[in-house]
């Protein structure tokens, strides 16, 4: 979409210029490369700052809920505490157990982080700030998200720890229970928006947010996102009171730092996705730029996720599956049917 003026420039350049180096065969490539670099820098900054602030806020808010103060010493209001933790973790030595399947064990956690960052770069953040405008963007996002449980399974299964092993099995079970309701809700969003294009989905919400049109869908999607991204009450993979740290039990400190990154990357992803699919993305009164609207909406959703964490108990794996199949799948089907009958037909 943004490439159109650039393409014109390229065409003009090719008409007027005779010799262009082959690696700049068209100037649009150069512009695209520069554009991509700028885009990656901007989105990385947004993503890192968002993840960092939400991570700090999570500690502070949960501390408030528990009559504590949370971090106070490092920086103002303890805002540098997470940074200090991160530096400490990265400075520690890296140990891989002899029994572990070394290659898979080492590769899977960076791979999960890479996939999360890929998804972060794939999402649109404002009418101009986006990498590519895919017609099947929404499907692409959920295809990549479906890889997460498999990679988590690899990480847990290869670490030769029985707790990590149980955690790996649980991650596959959660995949069985929660992938279907998510995709059914995605299907009803696509029904409303006439396609899987993320830009288009946001543009279709200019009259009313999809959250108002299908509240059941929002509920199902929110719960399933909690389950997909390991947030309480579905933090069965990392269940600290049962499985010590689940798939992270035998992981050494630098990888644990990466895992913390993954945690906040997934939080960012989940809240931005909910904001895009149900709360109109960057749409809002014009006194704020579109990007600010999207980030503000995602921020409020993250705070809600944190409050859920502070209040619920952990569900048991069989109950999680039963909840998924008895409640979420029927609800998402009902949502799909209602959406079709009322808004599409």
């Amino acid at each position: 979409m943004n490439n159109i003026p650039l393409d014109n420039i390229a065409v003009n350049l090719e008409k007027n210029m005779i010799n262009i180096p082959f690696w700049l065969h068209s100037a649009s490539l150069l512009y695209n490369i520069i554009g991509i670099i700028i885009y990656v820098v901007i989105v990385s900054i947004i993503f890192s700052v968002f993840g960092y602030v939400v991570g700090w806020l999570e500690r502070k808010l949960i501390a408030r809920a528990q009559y504590r103060h949370g971090p106070t010493y490092v920086g103002m209001w303890g805002i540098l505490q997470n940074m200090a933790d991160l530096i400490k973790l990265l400075a520690k030595s890296d140990v891989v157990l002899d029994n572990a399947d070394r290659f898979i064990f080492i590769i899977s956690i960076p791979l999960i982080l890479a996939l999360s960052v890929f998804l972060v770069l794939l999402l649109p953040y404002s009418p101009v700030l986006q990498s590519t405008n895919l017609g099947f963007g929404l499907l692409m996002v959920f295809t990549v998200i479906a890889f997460f449980p498999i990679l988590l399974f690899n990480a847990g299964f290869s670490s030769a720890n029985k707790f990590a092993n149980i955690s790996a099995q649980r991650s596959v079970l959660i995949l069985l229970g929660y992938e279907i309701p998510v995709l059914l809700v995605v299907a009803s969003v696509a029904l409303l928006a006439n396609g899987y294009n993320l830009q288009n989905i946001i543009a279709m919400q200019s009259n009313s947010y999809f959250a108002l049109l299908m509240p059941i869908g929002l509920f199902v999607f929110f719960v399933a996102m909690l389950a997909e991204f390991e947030r309480p009450p579905f933090d069965l993979r990392e269940a600290d009171s049962e499985l010590i740290a689940g798939w992270l039990t035998d992981i050494s400190a630098p990888y644990y730092a990466l895992a913390l990154f993954i945690d906040y990357a997934r939080m960012f992803l989940g809240s931005v996705l909910i904001a895009i699919l149900f709360f109109g993305g960057w749409l809002g009164p014009p006194f704020l730029p579109p990007l600010a609207w999207l980030i503000a909406k995602a921020f409020i959703i993250s705070i809600f996720v944190i409050m859920v964490r502070a209040t619920t108990f952990r569900m048991r794996i069989d109950r999680v599956l039963r909840f998924g199949w008895w409640w979420l799948v029927p609800l998402s089907l009902i949502n799909l049917i209602i959406t079709y009958i009322i808004f599409v037909r």
């Binding site: 949960i62 809920a65 528990q66 009559y67 504590r68 029985k162 707790f163 092993n165 149980i166 099995q169 309480p232 009450p233 933090d235 069965l236 269940a239 600290d240 009171s241 049962e242 010590i244 964490r309 502070a310 209040t311 619920t312 108990f313 952990r314 569900m315 048991r316 794996i317 069989d318 109950r319």
Partner: protein, 364 residues
Amino acid sequence: MPITRINVGPVHPSTHGVIRLVVDLDGDTIENVEPHVGFLHRGVEKLVETRMYMQSTPYMEKLDYVAPMSYNDAYVAAVEAAMGIPVKERAQYIRVILLELQRIASHLLSIGTLCNDIGQMFTAFMWSFKDRDIVLDLLQEATGSRMFYVNMRLGGLHSDLPPDFEEHALNTLDYLEKRVPQYEHYIERNPIFTERMKGIGVVSKELAKNIGITGPALRASGVNYDVRKNSPYYVYDKFHFNPQVLYDGDNFSRYKVKILEIKESIRIARAALKSLPEGDALGMPVKLRSPNPKNRISIVSRELPRGECLMYLVADPQRPYRLSIRSPCFINLAAISHIAKGERFADLFGILGSLDIIMGCIDR
């Protein structure tokens, strides 16, 4: 599926100390649980033989570090029974007050850690810790120490209550009385909590009697037995209270009995505070040179927050010849290999938390 053997502990977030559970899992279902104890063994019963009578009270407090005063009281009562020393009346009332406050603090901690084991992100735990702290403040006011009190003396106490203690205690009890229904409201109305507690880890009446489970775990299985009521000591027979009995025997009943017992303890402590007699409450000094035991063997039974403790003391002049302790936690723990069979792995920690064990008490 092949059976997996998992070693839970001795270092694990929710083993409440250093206990090792060897768990055989069939998929996610528990086939067998075998508890291994002894990681915290300090040989307290033997150490007592090498010290004079009142030098051992600090050891007794470290047996149960959640309710230290109860053990201290049980030991001192055993020595008093051996020496034939009567307890002063005011001291009896004060002991009842302090023991009930200790019971409230202990049950609050137990409820908090149970919620933590079920998978709550420390919120209920910190809430109950805050309320326990208020009770500990009160105990500190009365005894001068926050955690390990060592305030029981033969025939009385180390020091009388401070002058404004009564008012503070009544205020605190009023606060707790408002607070406990809030726990019920917030914890029990959570559907995840109830579904993970109800019908899990059922101890039948027969099993409870056969193993010898005591305390809240026994009363949750429908057996009306409370040492305070069945063989009253001190002035417990002067107050009206009911042992709280539930009949399901599952995790939820064990939790609920504790909540109900906090309410009863508040009633007892308040009644004792209001009928506190004037007089002297001080006991004999610690430096008790060569006391002459009147009874060679004394057996004292006390209702601790976690169950019935039995102190079997064979007395010599100067120091005990032999002390044997019936630890309630040790016997309650024996139930786990019976009741955890067939439950899910995630529920093992709920069962362990609701049995409410203290490793210092188990390993002695």
